[in-house]
C-alpha cells in the first residue's frame, strides 16, 4: 500500500492533479473559475512533470473555448488522451463539438468549475446553469460535492470514460468547491496508474484515424438513416452507470473512500428527503444529521451521476419510508414545469409508481437555490426540510432570497446554527493588497499539517481592481470539515484595516466572547474612543475581547509597505491559541519562506522581522462598560441621488446586497448610469494636490488620470464670490480672457493614489525640481478642505463644448469626463482612453463592450462608472459577451442606420406639415464639429416640439425616431484577448463590412482580467501564463491586417508617448464614415512594472519601436494623398531599455537566460524591420494604396 499523503488544496487543484496525470493533451482557454486548472497543467508541463505514462502532456491555449473544443475533438480523433478545463460561456462555446465528440463515442473528460451563465447580467460565480445547458450533448455528467470528491471522481471519470467510450463532463461548484481550500487525501500515482487500463488506451488509439487503416467519420446522413444511427449508442449509455460504479468501487478498494452513483445520507426511515447535486449536498447532509438528532426523520439524496440518469440507482438509494421529496436545482429554467433535476426525479417516481415498483407517488416539490454562489447554509437547508412538513408545500420555490415579486421564497430562520463546537472559526476582513488571503491560505496549511487536524479556507473578494477588500472564512477542527458555506459565527475576527469598522458590520458574525483583533493606528489607550458607537455596543453586548496592533506602522518600518499579513497572522496564532506559540511562529516562518522565496531573500528577511516584532506590538484593550463613541459616519448618499441609488445601490455598497428583495432588482438588467460618484471609496493614502502658481494649465495630468479625478474648469471670476476659502483658482493663461479663472480640482475621495498625474506633469518649481504643479500629499490632511472645494467646483458650469478646442490636450481637459471613478487598478493604462472617448463623444456615444477588465470596471455592481452630463445625455453601454463584441456593436450600427433612414424618410415626407427650412436644415446638416451637433440638437428639439403638436401617425413615429437625426457614435471596445483572439473572426468581418463603427482595442498585450494569460498580442519573448518560457512568435500586427482592406481607418496610439496624437486619432476615427480601428497601448499590472511610471513606460514602448505610432486614414487617399502617416520617430532607445523595466520580460532572463537573449535579439530585429516597413509605407505616394472605396 503506497503512502497516502494529505495536503491542503482547492477543488481546481484537486481535479487537475488527476486530469494532468491521465491525459496527454489539454486544449484550453482561460475562463473563471476554471482558469487555475489550465494554468496549473501548463506550469506543470513547463516544469517537466510527467503523467502516469512518463511523458509530459501538451497544454495548448487556443483562441477561444470553441477553438479548444475543436482542437480537443481533433486530438481525440487522432488517438491522444485529451482533456479540457472550462466553465460557463466557455462550456457553451464547446457545445457543438460536445455533440460531435459524444456522437462519435470519443472517450474524454471535461473538467468544469460550474458557473452561472450570463443572462440579465454576467456573473463569474458558481451554479449549474452551464452544465445543465450541456445535458443534451450526450456527455455523461458526474458531479463532485467537495474538494476530496473533485479529486477522487476525476479519476473515476477518466477510468470510466475509457471503459465506456462515453465522454464525461465532470463538474463541481465554481468557487465554492473550485476555490475552497480543504485538507484532502491525495491518491498516489501508483493508484492512479492502477485505475487506468492500458488495454483500453490501446483500444482507443486503435480506433483513431490512421491512413494505415483509413476510415471516414463525420459523414452527412439523409432522412433514411440518421435516426437509426442516432439510436445505436443506447447500449453504451445503459452500461455506463455500472461502469462508473465499478470504477468507484475500484477506487474504494484502494483508498477506502466509497462513492456511489446516488448517495443517500440521513435517517434510514426518513419521511422527508431533499435531492440535490453538488456542494449543497454537504450542507443538506450536515443539516439532516442535526435535525435527526432532534427526532426528525429526514434524509438527503446526492446525485453524483446525473447523466445518464440512473433511475434504478436513485430509487434504490431512497428509503421506502419517504413520503415527501424536495428537489433542489442550482439553476433556473424559465418557463419549465420544473428545473432539470426536479423533472428527472418526477419522471422517475411517475414511471416507478405506474410500473408498481414504487408504492406511491410522494409529495414532490422542486425549487432553486444558490444561483451565482448565493450562499446556501444550514438555515436554508432546514427551511427546505421544514417546507416538506407542510400540507401543501410550495413547488417552484426559491430559498436564500426574498422573492417579494412572485413569492416563491421560503422563510428562513437565520438564527439556526449547526456549527461544530469543536471547530475554531475565524473571520478576517482584509484589503486585497495587504496579503491577508495569502497569509490565511498559509494558516490553513499550517493548521492542517498535523495528522488529526483539519482546516478549511474560503475567500470572498469584491470585484474592485483597486482598493479591493477580502473576507477570509477559516475553520479548523479535529474532524474533516464539510461545511461549504460562509461562517455565521466566529470565535475570532480580524479587522485588518481600521476603516472597515465604519463601512460594514464586521462584528455581525462575532460569537459571544469572541476575540477581535484590529489593525489600528490608534494605540490601546486611544482606540476605544475612535470606534463608532454601534461597534462599541457590540463589544459590550457580545462580551468581545479587543486587541490592537499597529501592523501598518510595523510593516512600513520594515519596508514591507502595505503587506501587513505576516504580522497579523502571527497575532492571530498567538491570540487564538490554535497552536503553541513557538510552534506557530516556526510554522509561520516556514510557510513564509516557502511563499516568499519567489520574491527574493530580502522579502523573506523582512517578513521574518515582521513576525518577530508582531507580538511586541500587540496590545489588549480593556473594553469599557459604556458605549459612548460617535455614531458611525456611514457613507452618506445624498438625498439628491436617484431613489434606486439610495435604496438599492447603497445597500450593496454596505455589503448587504443579500438582503435586497427581488423587487429591488430590474427585470431586464437595466441599471442607471453614473453611480460610482456615490461610492467615495477614499482608498488612497496619498492624493495629488494642485499648486496653482506652478501650473501651466496644460491638461497633461488630467488626460492621463485613469480614474477621472482631475478635472479642469474655466469660468468667470465673478463666480468665485461664494467660493470657500480652500478653493483654489488662478487666471486662465489663455490670451483674451482676462476675467476668466481656471481651477484644477482633484476628487481626492475617488483617487486611487497612483501618482501617474504627478509623473506626467511637465511643470515644476524653479526652486526645486521635485515640486511639481501637482504633488502627492496626505489625503487625510487635505480631505476636509478638498471636500468643500469639490462641492463648490461641482456648482461651476462645465465649459461650453462649442468653445473648447477639441484638437489638443489643453482643450480636452475642459470636457466633462463621462467615465469616472471606475474600480480599475491604480495606474490603469486602459481607462484614460475610455475617459477620452467619453469626453470627446460622450453625449452621442453607444458602446459595445467585450467581456474583460473593461467590462468589470465598467459594469460590475454595485456602482458603475459610465455617467451622464448636466443635460442627462451620456454614454449608453452594454456588455454582451466576450466573443461576439464586434458583431454586437455592428448590430447597433445596422439598427441605428436603419432607424436614421426611416427618420429621414418620414422627416422628408412630413416636410409640408413642418417647416420646409427646418426639414432642409435637419437633413442637410453637417455633423462633424461640436458646433454642428449643437445646432443639430437645437433643430431636432424644434422638430420634436412641432411633431408633438401634430395628430398624425407618421409624426408620432418620427417623434420616436427623431433622436437618430443626430449622428450617433458607435464604439466597440475590448481588450486584446477579444480583438486578437476570441473575437478576431467577428472583428475581421465587421471591419470588412464598411459600416461606420469605431473599434477601440485596449491593448495590454495579455489577458488581464483572467490573470495574465498570453494572447496573440503578447510580444515575442514576453513571459505570460501559457507562455511561461516566453512567447516564441511576434505579436500579430492587427493594424497592418486591417490596413490591408484599404477602407479601414487604423491608428496605433499610446498615451504617455503622444497624448495629442491619441486625441487626433480618436477624432479622425469617429469622423470617418466607415470602420475604424484604434489600437491603444495600455500598460497593465500584468506587465510587472511600476504603474506610477506607466506613462513613461508607454513612452519607452514608442521610443524603442515596440509600439510605433501611426494613422492610416483612407480619406487621404481620396484626396490623392498617402493615407499612411507614421507619427513616431525612428527608434531611439534599444528594445532592451524598454523591456528591462518589466517583469514579463525580465523573468525569462532568470528562467531561460539563453533563450531570453536570443528572443531579445530577434525582437529587436523584428521591431526594426516593422519600423522600416511602416517607414516605407509612409514614404509612398498616394497612388500606391487602394483607391478609396467610396470613389468606386
Amino acid at each position: 500500500m503506497p503512502d497516502v499523503q494529505s495536503a491542503v488544496m482547492d477543488g481546481n487543484t484537486a481535479a487537475v492533479h488527476i486530469a494532468y496525470r491521465v491525459n496527454e493533451v489539454s486544449a484550453i482557454f482561460p475562463i473563471t473559475p476554471s482558469s487555475a486548472m489550465a494554468e496549473l497543467a501548463d506550469s506543470w508541463a513547463s516544469e517537466g512533470i510527467k503523467n502516469i505514462w512518463g511523458n509530459i502532456p501538451v497544454v495548448q491555449q487556443m483562441q477561444s473555448e470553441g477553438g479548444a473544443a475543436g482542437a480537443l475533438h481533433g486530438s481525440l480523433q487522432s488517438g491522444a488522451l485529451t482533456t479540457t478545463y472550462t466553465a460557463s460561456q466557455g462550456l457553451l462555446l464547446m457545445l457543438p463539438n460536445m455533440y460531435k465528440i459524444a456522437g462519435e463515442l470519443l472517450p474524454c473528460v471535461f473538467h468544469v468549475a460550474a458557473r452561472s451563465l450570463a443572462t440579465q447580467a454576467l456573473s463569474i460565480f458558481g451554479d449549474h446553469s452551464d452544465v445543465m445547458s450541456a445535458r443534451m450533448t450526450g456527455f455523461a455528467m458526474l458531479a463532485a460535492a467537495s474538494v476530496q470528491d473533485a479529486h477522487d471522481l476525476a479519476l473515476v471519470a477518466q477510468a470510466a470514460t475509457l471503459v465506456s467510450r462515453v465522454p464525461i463532463m465532470f463538474f463541481f461548484d465554481g468557487f465554492r468547491t473550485s476555490h475552497e481550500e480543504n485538507k484532502i487525501s491525495i491518491i498516489p500515482d501508483e493508484q492512479i496508474r492502477a485505475m487506468i487500463d492500458d488495454e483500453l488506451v490501446r483500444a482507443f488509439r486503435a480506433r483513431a484515424l490512421s491512413p494505415e487503416h483509413p476510415v471516414v467519420r463525420g459523414t452527412t446522413h439523409n432522412p433514411d438513416t440518421f435516426f437509426q444511427a442516432r439510436e445505436t449508442v443506447n447500449p453504451y449509455y445503459e452500461r455506463l452507470p455500472g461502469i462508473i460504479q465499478k470504477a468507484m468501487d475500484d477506487l474504494a478498494h484502494m483508498t477506502g473512500r466509497r462513492h456511489q452513483l446516488v448517495r443517500y445520507s440521513g435517517d434510514p426511515e426518513a419521511e422527508r428527503v431533499v435531492v440535490a447535486i453538488g456542494s449543497g449536498c454537504e450542507v443538506l447532509d450536515q443539516t439532516a444529521a442535526h435535525l435527526n438528532t432532534r427526532g426528525e426523520k429526514v434524509g438527503v439524496v446526492q446525485v453524483i451521476l446525473y447523466r445518464p440518469w440512473a433511475a434504478d440507482a436513485f430509487l434504490a438509494a431512497l428509503p421506502k419510508s419517504v413520503t415527501a421529496v424536495a428537489v433542489l436545482d442550482r439553476t433556473k429554467e424559465v418557463g419549465a414545469p420544473g428545473e432539470p433535476l426536479f423533472l428527472d426525479v418526477l419522471s422517475t417516481f411517475a414511471h416507478a409508481t405506474a410500473a408498481g415498483t414504487w408504492a406511491a407517488m410522494p409529495t414532490l416539490i422542486g425549487g432553486r437555490y444558490g444561483l451565482s454562489s448565493k450562499d446556501f447554509d444550514p438555515a436554508m437547508a432546514k427551511a427546505v426540510f421544514d417546507e416538506l412538513k407542510k400540507p401543501s408545500p410550495k413547488h417552484g420555490f426559491t430559498v436564500g432570497i426574498n422573492d417579494d415579486v412572485s413569492h416563491t421564497s421560503l422563510a428562513v430562520d437565520t438564527a439556526f446554527d449547526i456549527e461544530s463546537p469543536n471547530d475554531v472559526r475565524a473571520l478576517f476582513y482584509g484589503l486585497g493588497a495587504d496579503g491577508t488571503v495569502g497569509a490565511n491560505k498559509n494558516s490553513v496549511k499550517i493548521l492542517a499539517h498535523a495528522p488529526a487536524c483539519f482546516a478549511q479556507g474560503y475567500f470572498v473578494y469584491d470585484s474592485k481592481k483597486s482598493g479591493s477588500s477580502t473576507i477570509s472564512h477559516l475553520r479548523f477542527g479535529p474532524k474533516p470539515i464539510r461545511a461549504p458555506y460562509l461562517l455565521k459565527s466566529a470565535s475570532f475576527v480580524g479587522v485588518h484595516k481600521f476603516d472597515f469598522v465604519f463601512k460594514q458590520d464586521v462584528l455581525a458574525a462575532a460569537a459571544s466572547g469572541a476575540t477581535v483583533l484590529i489593525n489600528s493606528p490608534y494605540g490601546p489607550d486611544a482606540v476605544w474612543n475612535e470606534l463608532p458607537r454601534n461597534v462599541q455596543q457590540q463589544f459590550i453586548d457580545k462580551k468581545l475581547k479587543l486587541f490592537v496592533v499597529d501592523a501598518s506602522k510595523v510593516a512600513f518600518g520594515l519596508g514591507l509597505g502595505a503587506r501587513i499579513n505576516t504580522i497579523l497572522q502571527t497575532c492571530f496564532f498567538a491570540l487564538s491559541g490554535v497552536l503553541p506559540r513557538d510552534k506557530a511562529i516556526a510554522a509561520i516562518k516556514r510557510e513564509t519562506e516557502r511563499t516568499y522565496a519567489r520574491k527574493g531573500a530580502d522579502v523573506v528577511k523582512k517578513n521574518f522581522a515582521a513576525i518577530d516584532s508582531a507580538l511586541a506590538n500587540l496590545h489588549e484593550v480593556k473594553v469599557p462598560a459604556i458605549a459612548d463613541g460617535r455614531p458611525s459616519p456611514r457613507n452618506a448618499i445624498p438625498a439628491s441621488a436617484p431613489r434606486f441609488v439610495r435604496e438599492v445601490t447603497a445597500v450593496m455598497m454596505e455589503g448587504r446586497g443579500d438582503t435586497l428583495p427581488v423587487s429591488a432588482m430590474p427585470a431586464d438588467g437595466t441599471f442607471p448610469t453614473g453611480t460610482t460618484r456615490y461610492e467615495k471609496r477614499n482608498i488612497a493614502e496619498q492624493v495629488p494636490i494642485w499648486e496653482p502658481d506652478l501650473c501651466i494649465q496644460c491638461g497633461q495630468c488630467s488626460i492621463v488620470c485613469p480614474h477621472s479625478v482631475i478635472r479642469a474648469k474655466y469660468y468667470d471670476r465673478t463666480r468665485l464670490v461664494d467660493a470657500p476659502a480652500s478653493f483654489k483658482a488662478v487666471s486662465i493663461n489663455a490670451r483674451g480672457y482676462p476675467d476668466s479663472r481656471y481651477t484644477l480640482q482633484v476628487y481626492v475621495e475617488d483617487c486611487t493614489g497612483c501618482g501617474v498625474c504627478v509623473e506626467n506633469c511637465p511643470a515644476h518649481s524653479p526652486d526645486d525640481a521635485k515640486i511639481k504643479a501637482i504633488n502627492m500629499k496626505s489625503r487625510l490632511d487635505h480631505l476636509d478642505m478638498e471636500r468643500e472645494s469639490i462641492a463648490f467646483f461641482e456648482k461651476l458650469p462645465w465649459a461650453d463644448r462649442t468653445r473648447v478646442n477639441f484638437a489638443n490636450v489643453r482643450g480636452v481637459q475642459f470636457l466633462q469626463p463621462l467615465f469616472e471613478f471606475s474600480s480599475a487598478c491604480a495606474g490603469c493604462g486602459e481607462t484614460p482612453y475610455l475617459k477620452l472617448l467619453s469626453q470627446l463623444f460622450g453625449d452621442r456615444l453607444q458602446i459595445a463592450n467585450a467581456t474583460g477588465c473593461s467590462s468589470i470596471y465598467g459594469g460590475n455592481l454595485p456602482t458603475t462608472p459610465w455617467t451622464f452630463g448636466s443635460d442627462g445625455r451620456g454614454p449608453t453601454w452594454v456588455n454582451s459577451l466576450f466573443e461576439d463584441n464586434a458583431e454586437f456593436g455592428f448590430g447597433y450600427r445596422m439598427a441605428i442606420d436603419k432607424q436614421t433612414e426611416i427618420a429621414r424618410g418620414i422627416t422628408e415626407k412630413l416636410a409640408p406639415l413642418l417647416s420646409e427650412d427646418l426639414v432642409q436644415a435637419v437633413l442637410a446638416a453637417p455633423q462633424v464639429t461640436e458646433s454642428d451637433f449643437h445646432v443639430q440638437r437645437e433643430r431636432v428639439a424644434a422638430l420634436k416640439a412641432k411633431l408633438a403638436t401634430l395628430d398624425d401617425a407618421d409624426a408620432m413615429n418620427l417623434l420616436a425616431l427623431a433622436d437618430f437625426l443626430v449622428r450617433r457614435s458607435v464604439w466597440i471596445v475590448g481588450g486584446d484577448g477579444w480583438a486578437y483572439d476570441i473575437g478576431y473572426g467577428g472583428l475581421d468581418h465587421v471591419l470588412a463590412m464598411g459600416r461606420n463603427v469605431n473599434v477601440l482595442v485596449l491593448d495590454t498585450e495579455v489577458y488581464s482580467n483572467t490573470g495574465g494569460q498570453a494572447s496573440k498580442a503578447t510580444p515575442l519573448g514576453a513571459s505570460a501564463k501559457f507562455a511561461a518560457a516566453g512567447r516564441t512568435v511576434p505579436s500579430k500586427d492587427l493594424a497592418m491586417m486591417a490596413i490591408a482592406y484599404g477602407n479601414v481607418y487604423v491608428a496605433r496610439v499610446a498615451m504617455g508617448a503622444n497624448n495629442e496624437q491619441a486625441v487626433i486619432a480618436f477624432r479622425e476615427a469617429e469622423a470617418y464614415d466607415g470602420p475604424s480601428l484604434i489600437l491603444a497601448y495600455s500598460q497593465c499590472i500584468a506587465h510587472g512594472t511600476d504603474m506610477r511610471y506607466g506613462m513613461k513606460q508607454a513612452a519607452r514602448a514608442v521610443a524603442s519601436g515596440h509600439w510605433p505610432l501611426m494613422r492610416f486614414d483612407p480619406t487621404m487617399r481620396s484626396r490623392g494623398l498617402n493615407p499612411f502617416r507614421l507619427d513616431s520617430p525612428r527608434p531611439r532607445i534599444s528594445l532592451e531599455e524598454y523591456r528591462g523595466r518589466e517583469v514579463r520580460f525580465k523573468v525569462l532572463e532568470q528562467t531561460h537566460p539563453a533563450e531570453a537573449r536570443h528572443m531579445l535579439q530577434q525582437a529587436q530585429l523584428a521591431v526594426e524591420e516593422r519600423y522600416k516597413l511602416y517607414e516605407d509605407l509612409a514614404s509612398r505616394d498616394g497612388s500606391r494604396f487602394h483607391p478609396h472605396w467610396q470613389e468606386l
Binding site: 486585497g432 520574491k599 527574493g600 525640481a769 532572463e1149
Partner: protein, 335 residues
C-alpha cells in the same frame, strides 16, 4: 621582455588590469577585454543597495493584484525562486570565468555586514578569482567618530575574510587621517591587497533645473598624485599587494605607478576614452620603455621610487612642494 607580475597571489602576464567599469559589466565586454590583452579584469561592482531595490521592486510588481480579485490569483506564470538582483550578475560572472583565461576579479559594494558576507560568498561560489571590496562609506552620522569609521572598514574585511578563501583586496578611499595606519590595519585584518584609490560619485547642483545631480567624470593624469604618494609610502612595507588606479591615461602613468611600487595598475577611463585596443598599445609602450631604458622586466623597476628605496623621505613629501614654490612664476601655471 618579462612583463609579468604577481597581484593578490595571482600570476599576471603584465601589470595592466581593466578595472570595474561598464566595460566589465557584460560577458561580451570581458571577452573583448581579454582579446584586447588585459592581464585581468575587475568585473563591474555588484551593489547591495541596487540588488535590494531591485528585489523590493520585483516583489512589489509581481505581487500587484495577487490574491485580491476573484478572477485571478496572480498575473504571472509560476515564478521561479527569485534571485534576480544577484543572479544576473552571478550568471555573467560564472560565464565570464568559463569564457576567459585571465583572472576575473569580482567587485562588491555592500552596505551592511550581512550584505558583505552573503554577497562575497556568492561571488566566490560563482568562480571569482579574487574579490575587490569597493567600500563607499560616507559617515553622515555626526555621532560617528573617525575611529568608528576605521573600525567599520576593518570589520568588513574581517567578516569577508572569515567567509571566503579567495584573495580579498580593498579599494580604499584616500580620506583617512592616517592612510598608512589604516592600510596596515586592513592588511592586518586579512586584506590580501589594497587598491589605491577609489573615486566617488559626488554631488553637483544643476542650476538650470535646480536639482542635485551626480556625475563621475573619467579620470585624468592629474589625479595620479595621491595614489603615487601612498603607494610609494606603502610599497614594500605592507603585507599584501598594491594596485594603483586613477589617472592612468597611458603607459607613462603605468610606469610611474610601477616605479613607486604598484604590483598592478588598473584603468578604465583610458579604455572608455580610447577604446579597448588602447590596452594593447599601453602594454607595447610599457615594454618599449623598459627596453629603451635597459630594464629586463617589470620586476626590475617596481618600487624603484618607493619610500623604501629613497634615502630621504622628504624628497617625496616636501621637496617637490618646495621646488614648486621656489620656481613659481606668476601666471605660468595658468597658461
Amino acid at each position: 621582455m618579462d612583463l609579468s607580475t604577481k597581484y593578490l597571489g595571482m600570476d599576471l602576464k603584465h601589470p595592466i588590469i581593466a578595472s570595474a567599469s561598464p566595460l566589465t559589466a557584460t560577458l561580451d565586454g570581458i571577452r573583448a577585454l581579454e582579446d584586447a590583452g588585459a592581464a585581468a579584469v575587475v568585473m563591474a561592482s555588484l551593489f547591495e543597495e541596487q540588488v535590494r531595490a531591485e528585489d523590493t521592486a520585483y516583489a512589489m510588481y509581481t505581487d500587484h493584484g495577487s490574491l485580491s480579485q476573484p478572477e485571478s490569483g496572480s498575473y504571472f506564470p509560476p515564478l521561479p525562486d527569485y534571485d534576480r538582483g544577484m543572479s544576473g550578475h552571478l550568471g555573467t560572472l560564472r560565464q565570464a570565468v568559463e569564457a576567459v583565461d585571465i583572472p576575473v576579479i569580482a567587485s562588491l559594494n555592500a552596505v551592511t555586514i550581512d550584505g558583505w558576507v552573503d554577497y562575497s560568498a556568492r561571488l566566490e561560489q560563482a568562480g571569482a578569482a579574487a574579490l575587490e571590496l569597493n567600500v563607499h562609506f560616507i559617515p553622515v552620522d555626526p555621532a560617528m567618530s573617525g575611529q568608528d569609521v576605521e573600525a567599520h572598514y576593518v570589520e568588513v574585511v574581517r567578516a569577508v575574510k572569515r567567509t571566503v578563501r579567495i584573495p580579498v583586496a580593498l579599494k580604499l578611499s584616500p580620506y583617512f587621517s592616517s592612510t598608512a595606519h589604516m592600510a596596515h590595519a586592513l592588511t592586518g585584518a586579512g586584506a590580501d591587497g589594497l587598491v589605491l584609490f577609489n573615486r566617488f560619485y559626488q554631488p553637483d547642483v544643476d542650476l538650470a533645473t535646480m536639482s542635485v545631480k551626480s556625475e563621475l567624470h573619467l579620470s585624468t593624469r592629474y589625479e595620479t598624485g595621491l595614489p603615487l604618494l601612498w603607494i610609494a609610502l606603502l610599497a614594500g612595507r605592507l603585507h599584501g599587494s598594491l594596485a594603483a588606479t586613477s589617472g592612468v591615461e597611458g603607459a607613462r602613468e603605468v610606469i610611474k605607478y610601477l616605479l613607486v611600487g604598484a604590483d598592478a595598475v588598473m584603468t578604465a577611463s583610458a579604455l572608455l576614452r580610447n577604446g579597448l585596443s588602447y590596452l594593447q598599445s599601453m602594454v607595447t609602450e610599457l615594454a618599449a620603455w623598459l627596453e629603451e631604458h635597459g630594464h629586463p622586466s617589470v620586476a626590475a623597476i617596481r618600487g624603484q621610487k618607493s619610500v623604501k628605496q629613497l634615502d630621504d623621505i622628504s624628497e617625496l613629501l616636501r621637496a617637490q612642494y618646495m621646488h614648486l614654490l621656489t620656481e613659481y612664476v606668476p601666471g605660468r601655471l595658468a597658461a
